[in-house]
Chain length 342, copies 2
DNA sequence: TTTAGCACTCTCGGAAGGCGAGTGCTAAAG
DNA sequence: CTTTAGCACTCGCCTTCCGAGAGTGCTAAA
């Protein structure tokens, strides 16, 4: 595409950097003074006019400074952004945080804490998708009779998730019978992903277990329920942080975002559709209209090389991309480590 | 205390009613026109001056209309407020809502849905405290060995709560031994509230179970952990609704509230300390400074006559108390019913 | 005791005008 | 040909300044 000569790139980088810090349109004067460009304001003005024509910058109104356009941010993120290091304070915070976290065994709680830490560190809003049951693989189930009519099914996944449901038992069954049914299912289903546990199962299982088909039905229904579980598996942190951003002094925008924050499914969708690894979505690159002047940085976390979920940071398009990226990278790395230790 | 004559009461009621609707200071003119007081503006003016002196009304500034003071709201709520009925739409909504809800078995999910419905109906923010483990009574526990070193403990409460935790087993124990320990604990602890399961236990149990004291330790530690479980057992609904209130056009206030909303423990505290039955806390009657210009209407919901948790609605002091109270009453009633059917 | 009339107060909204930051253009310098 | 200095111009923002409108308190009459 359009190749920017080195000088234009330097100027663009300076504009983006400055605007990210100040949130104010940046003028040629400011650039020539505060950045080592060795150019006069006039020259910079000309270059900026070019950059605007090329679509990397824009003016809020005539005779104001320039601010980066979406395309400008994109170029910055792709080509101009330097890597930053964690500050000593951030390192310290992370260190302490993960030390604390080791005590917690439940993945959902861990992930919730991660959301919080992420928002504290970045000072933006964080979104964290907990591991989804349906993407995990079936490991085994156990059945605990409660009384004549009900039993508790405990489901274990390969990722260490444990989930229980009460099911109704259509009729009293002996412990032996139950054990056999469960053992059979455990054998048949081991390794299958939860999402795959649907109608396809029924066909296979009927033939040789006719007498127990009713209890099987209950169990399969329960599994299917798990596979389509609409539970909110998303955690937010620092939602109030968006109010610190000058771009959200407009109540309407805030309202739209806050409303979005209450819609678990749509948020989940956003994080689910993020590809593996680190992704940065800027402005209208986000699918949801409410996020059209936001940017979202996401990364997936893994167990045994398989993606479990996603963590993300949401801020204005004028986001400190470099800093956020570094923090997210570090966070996923440590989270992966933590999870792999069970 | 100060007895208000009937006329003053009528006027106060009119002021509160009008201000609740319009959010604008109400003047003598408006009152004489829109309310059947059969009094001239001048007379009303005099009475309003009295009411102000008595502390029930206040003026935002000289020569503006009057608005209710906190004391004014308090008097209104205690003595002046008429009962309102649910609108047909509200009834319909509730009907549908609870029909849907019957399908859900897990109390936490139910309660989360209630929070949502409550915010939709009231158009304020809702807070709902889920049943707290520690207030429930121990019913029984089951232990499922996972491998040599770990076992899953499943805890049942009398309220139908089911909670599981993985514990480390200090050494391999035979199934028989485990069964006996668990059976023993089940007998000893049945009916005790989870909150009571602390150090007091240890004394009783040591003597006759010396050989298994290590596994006992693990189990007791696990129970104790449950009793002090800091998990977020609170659900919010309609947080973005506060932005619709003109009193929250000030970003600072909103920010304080949103930040508070992220602090589960403090919110939990607020709801925990609410007495049984319906309570209305106005302005500074709320313990948290962030809520000093909010009002909170709460009610507790029950199972078998025992309070399980609390539901609440948070809005500006200029809240539609009558409407909210009716909705909350109806909601708790139906929720009680739903829960009692398991 | 109630009411009409009146002068007074205070907020809010819009208009006017000055300030400052920044631009684009032109012409000179390198 | 590129860079730079100078300059006129534009435009948003802030302050100030009314005028309108709503509402009050007081006084005097019904």
């Amino acid at each position: 595409m359009t190749a920017l000569n080195e000088r234009k790139q330097k100027i663009l980088r300076a504009v983006v950097t400055d605007y990210i810090q100040t949130a104010e349109p940046v003028g040629s004067r400011t650039l020539s003074r505060h950045y080592q460009l060795a150019l006069s304001a006039a020259t910079i003005r000309n270059e900026m006019a070019d950059l605007e024509e090329l679509g990397f910058l824009k003016q809020p109104h005539t005779s104001a400074g320039r601010i980066p356009s979406q395309q400008g941010y994109r170029f910055y993120v792709d080509s101009l952004m330097d890597q930053v290091e964690l500050t000593p304070q951030e390192k310290l915070y992370l260190e302490k945080f993960f030390t604390q976290l080791q005590k917690i065994r439940e993945i959902d709680q861990i992930v919730q804490q991660v959301a919080k830490a992420l928002s504290v560190l970045t000072r933006y809003t964080s979104l964290v998708l907990a591991p989804q049951l349906k993407h995990c693989a079936f490991a085994q189930m156990r059945l605990i009779p409660i009384d004549e009519k009900q039993a508790l099914v405990v489901l274990f996944t390969d990722t260490g998730y444990i989930r229980n449901k009460v099911i109704e038992m259509p009729r009293a069954l002996s412990a032996d019978e139950l054990d056999r049914v469960v053992a059979y299912l455990n054998e048949e289903l081991a390794g299958q992903t939860i999402a795959g546990l649907t109608a396809a199962r029924l066909r296979k299982l009927r033939p040789d277990l006719y007498s127990r088909v009713d209890i099987l039905h209950s169990l399969l229904a329960m599994l299917e329920e798990c596979s389509s579980d609409g539970e909110t598996r998303i955690f937010l942190g620092g939602t109030s942080n968006i109010l610190d951003q000058p771009e959200f002094k407009d109540m309407e925008k805030v309202k739209h975002l806050l409303t979005l924050f209450e819609e678990g499914e749509r948020l989940t969708f956003i994080l689910e559709t993020a590809p593996e690894g680190i992704t940065i979505r800027i402005g209208t690159e986000n699918l949801l209209a409410e996020m059209h002047d936001c940017s979202l940085v996401t990364a997936s976390y893994h167990l045994h090389g398989r993606p479990l979920g996603t963590i993300g940071v949401l801020g204005p398009t004028r986001m400190e991309y470099a800093r956020v990226t570094t923090i997210i990278k570090e966070m996923t790395e440590r989270l992966n480590m933590l999870i792999s230790m069970l």
